[in-house]
């Protein structure tokens, strides 16, 4: 296969991911992108191209937070000087072919299905295989089409959307808000994860309720807890918090709350103000 040469960019950092590397059937647009330097999102994706991507390919999921903290922290009231350790942001490593297990076969199927429906392969920014689970990082505009493909294509058949939820990777991380979809194919007994990374200033993406009606409450919860706006949702209102609540509680910058408690003569601060080791 010509995958090996085509799927790897000149510095070797470009991911050789799933549908992108099974791209022959898809025609010339992928080849053109590769020639253009390996950055997958291009012409077809005007708003998002470039945002959150590194210029020479590689991972699109770019954390910018650096490790800091440990000793030498002052002003925390902790006389040991220990505290406030912040781990560097985690970068999920792009997977290389072969992925192993059913992942390769599945990625081929998905590539073919995308080609059939004329969905650009750039819709999938990165593939990660970790701990026996496969994750597709998806361009946000494409999530609805992709879900419809995954549900309807006879070779994919993801009948059930198990879960939609958000993850906030915390301050200083570029595109810190992620929306995570867990899909289940009962026909093939496969589970996959789709993940969309969003900017905190523009947390919008299309709703998948018209494809998976079960996503209704999941998306409402994600809006409620993370402030992600799902365009096209039939009634995007708060679901767990009261309607007039301010803020989105599961964002990392939203305080946990709590009051100091006296226990055996000592005052114990609320959990979010206690000494933290990470």
């Amino acid at each position: 296969m010509s995958d090996d040469t085509k799927g790897t960019s000149k510095d070797g950092a470009e991911q050789t991911g799933g549908p992108q590397s099974s791209a022959e059937a898809g025609g010339g647009d992928v080849a053109a992108q590769r020639a253009a330097g390996g950055t997958a999102p291009s012409a077809g994706e005007p708003e998002r191209a470039g945002a959150g991507t590194t210029p020479e390919g590689g991972t699109r999921i770019a954390p910018t937070r650096e490790r800091r903290g440990m000793f030498g922290v002052s002003g925390s009231g902790d006389t040991s000087g220990f505290g406030g350790l912040r781990l560097p942001g985690h970068v999920p490593a792009p997977a290389e072919r072969p992925f192993g297990g059913w992942f390769d076969e599945f990625a081929d199927e998905l590539g073919a299905a995308l080609a059939e429906r004329k969905i650009s392969r750039a819709a999938i920014q990165q593939v990660t295989v970790d701990r026996g689970e496969i994750t597709f990082y998806v361009q946000r505009e494409r999530i609805l089409e992709l879900c419809r493909t995954l549900r309807d294509d006879p070779g994919l058949r993801f009948e059930l959307c198990s879960s939609v939820s958000g993850v906030d990777y915390g301050a200083d991380v570029e595109q810190r808000l992620h929306v995570v979809y867990h899909l289940l194919s009962m026909t093939y007994r496969r589970r996959i994860r789709l993940e969309v990374a969003l900017d905190i200033d523009d947390p919008r993406l299309p709703s998948v309720v018209e494809v998976y009606p079960t996503a209704d409450w999941h998306e409402r919860e994600t809006w409620d807890m993370f402030g992600v706006i799902f365009d096209g949702h039939p009634a995007l209102t708060r679901i767990l918090m009261p309607d007039d609540w301010d803020g989105h509680p599961q964002r990392k910058d939203y305080p946990l709350g709590g009051i100091p408690v006296e226990y055996k003569g000592a005052e114990i601060p609320p959990p979010d103000q206690r000494r933290s080791y990470t």
Partner: protein, 443 residues
């Protein structure tokens, strides 16, 4: 109800106000016949709950009725939101167990096991066999208890009071056994990442065998009491119909999905905790109504007893916690005169002999262990369906994200599909057959 007098006097219990949709009456008491002007339709919006004996906890239903027919039904949730997911982000990985066990409080062991399986998957830790078998035993015991509450409260909501007293009586047997095995009736925090908090106490096998014998003798009573009873059948048959395509679209799993004919059970299709070694059936039905769901739950309890019996035989002596001292707490706990705590031998060792042990113990308990970065999703088959834990780690001693895919939350979305177009009384039957536990719905 349809006969509304034109000359109705102004009622202190039913103040009226004008809106763009016409006159709205807020009825707080008195007789409906004295309210209204007779010119408008008979559409009534009934607010049921959140404090209502037949809404299964703090579930609020907003029903739009025409006569006794439900035109629209919506559920309002969030009254029991306790921020479990957020709280877990401020505790170490081991402490997370004490939070998640409180989510679906009728199936605490399932929450603990699913959470721990997810943490162990992140860690890449292999749990000792004895702990895994014990987890299976506890889960099935818990499943019986949970199904009994479903039958009991469901029976109570439909007026079958004996079903309630019998169900809670049998559940008490299970709770006694759970208390004996884990130390607590609920909110156990017994399953820990890496294994179990401690081994089963002396004499556990006899107690479990005794429980199985008692349940074997009592479960058939439910067939006598409810299964063939004409009123019970009339209340449940052909009520709350949801076929398999509706189930999949709305994400329903567990007994709801199996009552529609799809034998989808995580224990069979994606075995975890060694369920592939156990001999049991997955009961299914094709009627897709409340009665089918009731029968499935009864049948599942019998299957759970079978699994428990096999688990007792499979239990071999051995450790119940991983050997890795970076994960396992250094002391197995024991019950002393002042409650549960570290064993005397361990206290003697850390205080008298080994400073290193003391430091290690202190670090592990206060700081916790580090979990390599990444994310996992682990589903298990809870009594209500697919209970999934999505955990994200950044390599620290605390989770970045703990997301609970709770089956009650998802299944509750099927309530309108099951009850719209039916009678008000059937809403109760439908909700009872969904068996939502608000602790899990709201988390």
């Amino acid at each position: 109800m349809t006969d509304i007098r034109d000359d109705a006097p102004v009622d202190a219990y039913a103040p009226e106000r004008e809106t763009t949709e016409g006159t709205i009456y807020t009825v707080t008491g008195g007789d409906w016949d004295t309210v209204g002007d007779g010119e408008h339709d008979d559409r009534i919006v009934i607010n049921m709950g959140p404090q209502h004996p037949s809404t299964h906890g703090v579930l609020r239903l907003v029903l739009e009725l025409e006569g006794e027919t439900v035109q629209q039904a919506r559920s309002v949730i969030g009254y029991l939101h306790t921020g479990i997911e957020k709280n877990c982000e401020y505790r170490n990985w081991t402490q997370g167990v004490t939070f998640v066990t409180r989510a679906d409080y009728l199936a605490p062991i399932f929450n603990e096991v699913a959470y721990c399986l997810a943490v162990e998957k992140l860690l890449g830790a292999e749990v000792p066999r004895r702990a895994t078998v014990a987890r299976v035993l506890l889960m099935e015991l818990n499943r019986i208890g949970s199904h009994l509450v479903c039958l009991a409260t469901g029976g109570m909501e439909l007026g079958a009071l004996t079903g309630m007293t019998a169900g809670f009586r049998e559940r008490e047997e299970g709770l006694h056994l759970l208390e004996f095995l884990t130390g607590l009736r609920m909110n156990h925090a017994y399953v820990r990442p890496g294994g179990l908090a401690q081994d089963f106490p002396e004499g556990w096998a006899e107690k479990v065998t005794e429980y199985i014998a008692v349940m074997r003798s009592r479960l058939p009573d439910y067939d006598k009491l409810l299964t063939g009873q004409p009123i019970w059948r009339q209340r449940l048959e052909k009520v709350g119909y949801l076929p398999v395509d509706g189930c999949l679209a709305l994400g329903a799993t567990g007994p709801i999905l199996r009552s529609a004919g799809l034998p989808w059970d995580q224990r069979k299709v994606e075995p975890y905790c060694g369920y592939e070694e156990y001999d049991f059936e997955v009961p299914t039905a094709t009627e897709a109504d409340c009665y089918a769901r009731y029968r499935l739950r009864v049948a599942e309890m019998h299957e759970s007893l079978k699994i428990m019996e096999q688990a007792v035989e499979k239990m071999e002596p051995g450790p119940v916690m991983v050997a890795d001292r970076k994960i396992a707490w250094p002391a197995q706990l024991s019950v002393g005169s002042d409650g549960m705590g570290n064993t005397l031998e361990h206290v003697r060792k850390i205080m008298g002999q080994s400073m290193e042990s003391l430091i290690h113990h202190f670090k592990l308990v206060t700081e916790g262990f580090r979990v390599p970065p990444g994310q996992v999703y682990v589903p298990v088959e809870s009594p209500r369906g697919e209970l999934g834990y999505h955990l994200v780690s950044d390599g620290g001693t605390r989770p970045v994200r703990v997301h609970v895919r709770d089956p009650s939350f998802v299944n509750l979305q099927t309530m309108p599909a099951m009850s719209e177009g039916g009678m008000v009384a059937d809403v109760i039957a439908s909700v009872a057959s969904i068996d939502p536990v608000m602790g899990g719905v709201d988390r």
